[in-house]
């Protein structure tokens, strides 16, 4: 929450209580302090309480009302719909706090009416308002579209239409609400257990935003991941889901100790997994093992229980690999690049079907408006780096792979382009794929997108695999940091993911207090410290067949030749070298051949000159 949003919230509270009695104003002060203490910290809580007092006092002294339309108009122009939803939920929670019950709140025209008026000014639809209201008040029986509610409990409440996730460890229960139009999730917990959201305590009945990458834990053990919750709302097809499993995988390059050691992990459809580590720690080797280019010397890699050894051909059909360097045809347009890739990969589609699919995919990836632009070379770019990267990704996505491996998708991109590319990859994960991404130094926004991260250390040792926010806590705890529970800045919510690598790479000091080149903790020690957490239940489905059918060799040849010809014809330099220069050379040679003859001194005379 930024200062503008906090001020707006306080002003809206002031608007609601301005004409009320002293007890209502006192309640608003208490609630404001409770809210901002919970959202930010006690200092901000106290400050905003005083701010509210001041706003109400000033308005009363000036005998003026608070201009709600102006506040809402500014909010509409400067804040996202998600931020406006949070404001509305806080207002509804405040109404409930005052009235003590949803039924009484609905009967209270003064408060409920003012909140509804604010919702209208904030351009929040009646449907969304109704869902917010039912969620905050706990009157779930009022919810019309029950697909937007998820209950997490030890036993199913058997409520028709609601999603349900079983968690036997808890006595209480969670209610999650999903706003599909804005892809936003909030939750409320009812119970007495000591639970944490991203290492911060969860208060019963309070409303929390559940952002990408978040985790709810119980006594330090992960209980519920964001990916699990969003997967329920998005309705990922469980029957088509895949589970990638690596068990004690060991790979070393010949005559060296570099490679990967004792790698064990499980990842499932719907997850975006970040592979992090410095240069040369084995990130690319890891991808080469996963795409079947390399074979482990020990251990087992399997997809839905089918080992790579037994079903590599079938598995490879389900894998998409996007290398760091793009493989686009610079003289072809965006559309043509994707079209010919689709023609090669999808042998079962007609030309028209392929064109339709390509246009749809271009629109999905925000490339439709540049479909007729030539891609251009790396020196003379017609499309931006972010657009190039998206085109590369969609070229793999068009085959509908179940497992997508993306190598350094953000390298060389601006922060805005990086976030856009990563958001698209997150969307792909949420649509039911398993997406693995090699990445360096992600920003907070990108780091939050990951459902899991794999941290590799020098020599290819796995030193962490799990929730990204838990990773910060884990390494800070092992480094003996006093603020180990502080995984994100309490005010700005930034996450210093770099701190993980600072801790891993921490150096010893000599007797003079100078840093040495020796590390405090060796990679093998970090590796042995890490004990993977139990992932809970994983259902293994039979490995499905790839939706794409390989094109026959005749058609492949035709597509290759067409693409190559088109590409070459548009290459002016190539055209000159291939067609103009040979003709000119031939003409020159022919000229000399026809009009020259040897003279008596062993030289050459031009016949034409002799004629002259």
């Amino acid at each position: 929450m930024n200062e503008f949003l906090v001020n707006s919230q306080v002003n809206l509270f002031a608007h609601i209580v301005l004409n009320g009695d002293a007890s209502l104003q006192r309640l608003a002060e208490i609630y404001t302090e409770v809210l901002f203490t919970r959202l930010v910290n006690p200092r901000i809580g106290k400050k905003q309480k005083e701010e509210l007092k001041q706003v109400v006092r000033n308005s009363k002294q000036a005998n003026s009302s608070i201009d709600v339309k102006k506040i809402c108009s500014k909010l509409n122009s400067e804040s996202s719909i998600q931020q406006r939803l949070i404001l509305l939920l806080n207002l509804l929670e405040f109404g409930l706090f005052v009235q003590k019950n949803a039924i009484l709140l609905s009967k209270s025209n003064s408060i409920a009416g003012k909140i509804k008026q604010i919702a209208d000014e904030l351009k929040i639809s009646a449907e969304t308002y109704s869902l917010c209201s039912s969620f905050v008040s706990g009157k779930l029986y009022e919810v019309h579209d029950r697909r937007n509610i998820l209950i997490v409990k030890s036993v199913s409440p058997e409520l028709e239409g609601f999603h349900f996730v079983k968690r036997e460890q808890i006595d209480g229960y969670f209610v999650f609400v999903y706003f599909p139009d804005v892809s936003t999730i909030f939750f409320r917990y009812q119970g007495k257990e000591n639970l944490q959201l991203n290492s911060k305590p969860i208060q019963p009945k309070a409303i929390y935003s559940f952002q990408s990458g978040s985790v709810i834990s119980q006594n330090g053990k992960p209980l519920l991941y964001y990916s699990k919750v969003i997967g329920q709302f998005k309705g990922l097809n469980q029957h088509e889901s895949i589970t990638l499993n690596l068990k004690n995988v060991e790979f070393t390059y010949p005559r060296s100790n570099f490679g990967l050691h004792n790698l064990s992990l499980t990842a499932t459809s719907g997850e975006l997994v970040g592979i992090m580590g410095g240069s040369g720690v084995g990130k690319s080797t890891f991808f080469n093992l996963l795409n079947g280019s390399l074979t482990p010397q020990r251990g087992k890699i399997s997809l839905n229980g089918v080992s790579y050894q037994d079903g590599l051909t079938q598995i490879q059909m389900l894998i998409g690999f996007v290398p760091q360097d793009d493989s686009l045809f610079e003289n072809l347009t965006v559309f043509e690049n994707l079209y010919y890739t689709a023609r090669l990969a999808l042998g079962n589609l007609t030309v028209e079907q392929t064109k339709e699919l390509v246009n749809a995919k271009l629109a999905e990836f925000g490339l439709y408006h540049i479909r007729n632009l030539k891609v251009g070379s790396s020196l003379s770019r017609n499309i931006s780096g972010g657009q190039r990267k998206r085109l590369n990704i969609v070229s793999e996505i068009i085959r509908e792979p179940k497992l997508l491996l993306v190598d350094e998708p953000t390298s060389g991109l601006s922060s805005a382009d990086s976030l856009r590319v990563m958001s698209l990859l997150k969307e792909q994960a949420l649509s039911g794929r398993l997406v693995l991404v090699n990445i360096h130094q992600p920003s907070t926004e990108i780091y939050r997108l990951f459902d899991k991260i794999l941290v590799l250390d020098q020599g290819g040792y796995m030193v962490y695999y799990g929730n990204p926010l838990e990773a910060v806590r884990y390494f800070k705890m092992h480094a003996g940091r006093i603020d180990a529970d502080e995984v994100e800045c309490s005010v700005c919510k930034n996450i210093k993911s770099d701190e993980i690598f600072d801790i891993i790479d921490e150096k010893q000091v000599d007797e003079f207090g100078q840093l040495t080149e020796n590390r405090k903790v060796k990679p093998i020690v970090w590796s042995s410290r890490f004990i993977p957490t139990d992932e809970g239940e994983t259902t293994i489905n039979p490995l499905s067949e790839s939706k794409s059918i390989k094109t026959g060799w005749v058609k492949q040849l035709e597509v290759f030749l067409t693409r190559l010809t088109l590409s070459k014809l548009r290459d002016i330099e190539f055209f000159i070298f291939a067609f103009v220069i040979p003709v000119l050379l031939a003409a020159v040679i022919a000229f000399f051949s026809k009009y020259s003859f040897p003279n008596e001194q062993g030289g050459v005379h031009l016949h034409l000159l002799r004629k002259l």
Binding site: I30, V34, G138, Y141
Partner: protein, 214 residues
């Protein structure tokens, strides 16, 4: 409180409800603030017990207000069609904290099918909560409350082995004796919307049967 006294008590009930909410706000606000400031598990446990009491107090306040509304002839109530079985399941979910606190078990039959009624949903929801709360308050830990359907889904039955205590409370009402606000609200609500019900003892059990509206 006797039946013929209700109309005269309507205004008092409304005021009791309002005043108790004002008092409650003085307690629940600071509880939430303490929660925000402390992570001490022992303190959180104490706060939870305090909150359970405030929730009961909140319910008392609400139900006083609702009873006052029901007794007021000019008060408009909404009338909508909904599934009573669905409402029963929601009530079990909402009572989760109390179920854990009292240690009772809810057994909802798999045969329960849609049981539509036309009434004010909020008021009927409170009535359903009242029935379950009445049972929970007299049952021993580990006892079960069974919810089933009878006579080819023409009736819903709620049964528990409570030595007939709950049945006695409802009988007191029919005998015009003084009973709790909760029981009074339940009876008035169901009568208001013409939802037939019977409460009787059977071999140490209390059986409550709710029939379909005519």
């Amino acid at each position: 409180m006797k039946l013929n006294d209700y109309s005269s008590h309507s205004e008092i009930l409304r005021q009791v409800g309002f005043e108790s909410r004002t008092l409650l706000n003085g307690i629940t606000g600071p509880i939430q603030l303490i929660r925000s400031l402390s992570n001490d598990p022992n303190l959180l446990e104490i706060l939870h017990i305090l909150e359970l009491s405030t929730v009961r107090f909140e319910k008392f306040s609400l139900r006083s207000q609702l009873l006052s509304d029901l007794l007021n002839p000019s008060m408009q109530v909404s009338n909508e069609r909904f599934d009573l079985v669905d409402l029963l399941k929601h009530a079990v979910l909402e009572l989760n904290d109390f179920i854990n606190f009292f240690g009772v078990i809810f057994e909802l039959s798999k045969d329960l099918s849609s049981f539509e009624v036309e009434a004010d949903r909020d008021i009927i929801y409170q009535s359903v909560l009242i029935v379950f709360e009445q049972f929970m308050s007299v049952l021993e830990s580990g006892s079960a409350i069974k919810v089933d359907c009878e006579e080819h889904s023409q009736k819903i039955s709620i049964t528990a082995f409570d030595n007939g205590f709950v049945a006695d409370k409802f009988n007191q009402f029919s005998e015009n004796q003084s009973v709790e606000i909760d029981v009074t609200l339940f009876v008035h609500s169901l009568k208001k919307f013409s939802i037939p019900f019977t409460v009787y003892k059977n071999n140490g059990h209390t059986v409550m049967e709710i029939a379909r509206q005519q």
